[in-house]
Amino acid sequence: MADISSTPQDSGSSSRRDETATMSSRQGTRARLQFPHPPARPDQKADFSAIVVPEAGILPVPPLDIDASGCRELAVGMVRVLDKNNRPVGPWADYLGDLSADRLRLGLRDMLKMRAIDRRMLNAQRQGKTSFYLQCTGEEAIGCCFQRELSQGDMNFPTYRQQTLLVAADYPLEQLMGQLYSNELDPLKGRQLPIMHSARDYGFFSISGNLGTQYVQAVGWAMAAALTGTGKIAAGWIGDGATASNDFHSALLTASVYMPPVVLNVVNNQWAISTYTGIAAGKSETYAARALGYGIPALRVDGNDYLAVMAVSRWAIERARQGHGPVLIEWFTYRAAAHSTSDDPSAYRPRDEARAWPLGDPIDRLKAHLIARGDWSEERHVQAEAEILDEVTAVQKAVEAHGTFVDPQPISPAEIFLNVYADMPEHLRRQRQEMGY
């Protein structure tokens, strides 16, 4: 029956069908684009099930002169030192050796101070005393600990979320807050945004608002240090989102070509304002793994584990200082607070996401470790928190006496024209006069 019913017309149309089939197989099926999605949005339950948290203590400490080719497991795994019982374990714990209780309590103090400052300044912004603020909640261990491992004369090239470096460098709070209030104590004379500090003597390069630019500058600073033989190193800092910038790749390339003494830090806090980290990562396994393609050794580290931060910072800084070239560290962490005072994260991520973060809170974990060692207690912690808050509040009050945005004691407008050039050109002199100063 089928044969009989098969008319010439039918066979004609079936041959056309074949032709269409051949054409479509030549053209392929329609390519579909990928649009990476975060694990959960506001109406969903926080979900970090895709994040693999390896056991503490399983990764080796590589030789200081390791090549990228030997770094794969370090770049896709995660260096962790504190185990479930808050005890240090494994090769990186051995690398640290015996740590004094004082050193660890200093770390805890730095982080508590950082958190107290963030809290007070957020509050000040809400009261209109400063125009803008931005917290680093959840990321305190990274900068606080890294800075303590640097030497005088080393230079950080930070982003706006590394106020931790300033706190651990014992940058005077009067200056930090003076800038936040844009009063006469502001070392940058009101020119910069409140949070965009610059503190050369404290190893803190002038922050730019333009993401990524500092990363390749860190390479240049490190090259100059090598060329002039200062023995100092540079440390670049960048967020996960900003690794997408051209300058991130420029930095990796030039670091790979010239092998300068630079530690390239990526703070992967999972978010770039409302944008999920997958939009910056694409199909890369980790940010650390990306550096391997440039021939730069790289490690991924639990950034909420103060001891892991200490061990890897010490190792990387030593590697750079001994002349083995660049290294990239991906600090795995979570931005627990809003991006800034202009942001409301409940519009793009679950409210409870920070609580679901599998790597916990850096302060809680170091505190638990110190208690497990017998060098700390709940009572001492509560007392220390209160003392530090008092200290910070006392400085804040003193700084506020010099003026805030609510009660301004303005910096001279003439400051606008100073330091544009080393010598003020005639046309700026004229403009300053026109302004009346």
């Binding site: 649009f35 020119r191 304002i273 046309h427």
Partner: protein
């Protein structure tokens, strides 16, 4: 008619174009799910899907570079740069690629794209959230440069920009996203709903590129302004009682010289105002054009009010911003000479 802020009007323009032209596509940093840090694209991804409205990595040259590739094939990308201060990584793609593609390929490839970006100061944004880079684009052959001063114009101009066959730089004065600004930071803030230009039709309409608007008829002096400064100029003219004619340029490139010429021929005096730094600013171009076109009508030197030649400061914002006092002085000088 609906009452819209400038943000809503811009969103409505993109909504209309996404709806009536499948080749229109919108992307940028935080633009997709969240709808942009200024909320200009809020709701568009939910409405049109991720293939039409999406988030990008933080790489401005990639944003514009992708748009160039898409536009060359006939799509109409309308991309967002989060702040005009962050457009510079894309400067190469915009000025060397998008601007010249038509010319260098003799029309084989063209570049009908729009690059939107918030511009200007007035929000205590410091040097990296306050700049006005229009002159860095008006200096480039092949680009069009647009800057609206109210919601009605914003929508009509953005639709025209998306429909334009060539690349358009679309600058959005962020100080007036939510309401006009008279230049006094301590003054009462006025919402767009209280301003006639806050009346915006829901449907499609366009305002031709290259056409200025006369905001106030007058006979004593011609004021050339755009963006936020249109409102500051209007308020200052009101305060001084000078019978100024205020021209809102709306499109800087190509420039509506006919409207300018007719006005200056009538008034014989001219004041040029912009927020951007003075030296080599767009005001210099305006002054040169007015001088060439109207020399024999001029009764006084042309006055210029602009940002000081220094980076935009944070705390001294209102000493830097060319506000009513400086504009009033320039108007007086133009009148006295």
């Amino acid at each position: 008619m609906a009452r819209m802020t400038m943000i809503e009007a811009l969103r409505s323009a993109m909504d209309v174009k996404l709806g009536d032209d499948p080749s229109v596509i919108v992307f940028g940093e935080d633009v997709g799910y969240f709808g942009g840090v200024f909320r200009c694209t809020a709701g568009l991804q939910a409405r049109y899907g991720e293939e039409r409205v999406f988030d990008t990595p933080i790489n401005e040259s990639a944003i514009v570079g992708m748009a160039v590739g898409m536009a060359a094939q006939g799509m109409r990308p309308c991309v967002e740069i989060q702040f005009a201060d962050y457009v510079f990584p894309a400067y190469d793609q915009i000025t060397q690629e998008a601007a010249r593609l038509r010319h260098r390929s003799n029309g084989q490839f063209t570049c009908p794209l729009v690059v939107r970006m918030p511009t200007g100061g007035g929000i205590f944004g410091g040097q990296t959230h306050s700049q006005s880079p229009e002159a860095l684009f008006t200096h480039v052959a092949g680009l069009k440069v647009v800057i609206p001063s109210n919601p009605y114009d914003a929508k009509g101009l953005l639709i025209a920009a998306i429909e334009d066959p060539d690349p358009v730089i679309f600058l959005e004065p962020k100080r007036i996203y939510n309401g006009p600004f008279a230049g006094d930071p301590h003054g009462k803030s006025v919402p767009w709903s209280a301003h006639p230009a806050g009346d915006v039709p829901e449907e499609h309409y366009s305002i031709p590129l290259g056409k200025a608007a006369i905001r106030r008829q007058g006979s004593a002096v011609t004021v050339l302004a755009y963006g936020t400064m249109v409102h500051v100029a209007e308020a200052t003219v009101e305060q001084t009682g000078i019978d100024a004619e205020i021209i809102d340029l709306r499109t800087l490139l190509p420039l509506d010289l006919d409207t300018i010429r007719a006005s200056v021929a009538k008034t014989g005096r001219c004041v040029v105002i912009h927020e951007a730094t003075r030296t080599s600013g767009f005001g210099a171009e305006l002054i040169a054009e007015v001088q060439e076109a109207c020399f024999w009508h001029l009764r006084a030197p042309i006055q210029r009010v602009a940002g000081w030649d220094a980076p935009y400061p944070h705390a001294q914002e209102w000493d830097y911003f060319p506000g009513p006092d400086r504009i009033a002085r320039a108007l007086q000088q133009a009148m006295e000479a």
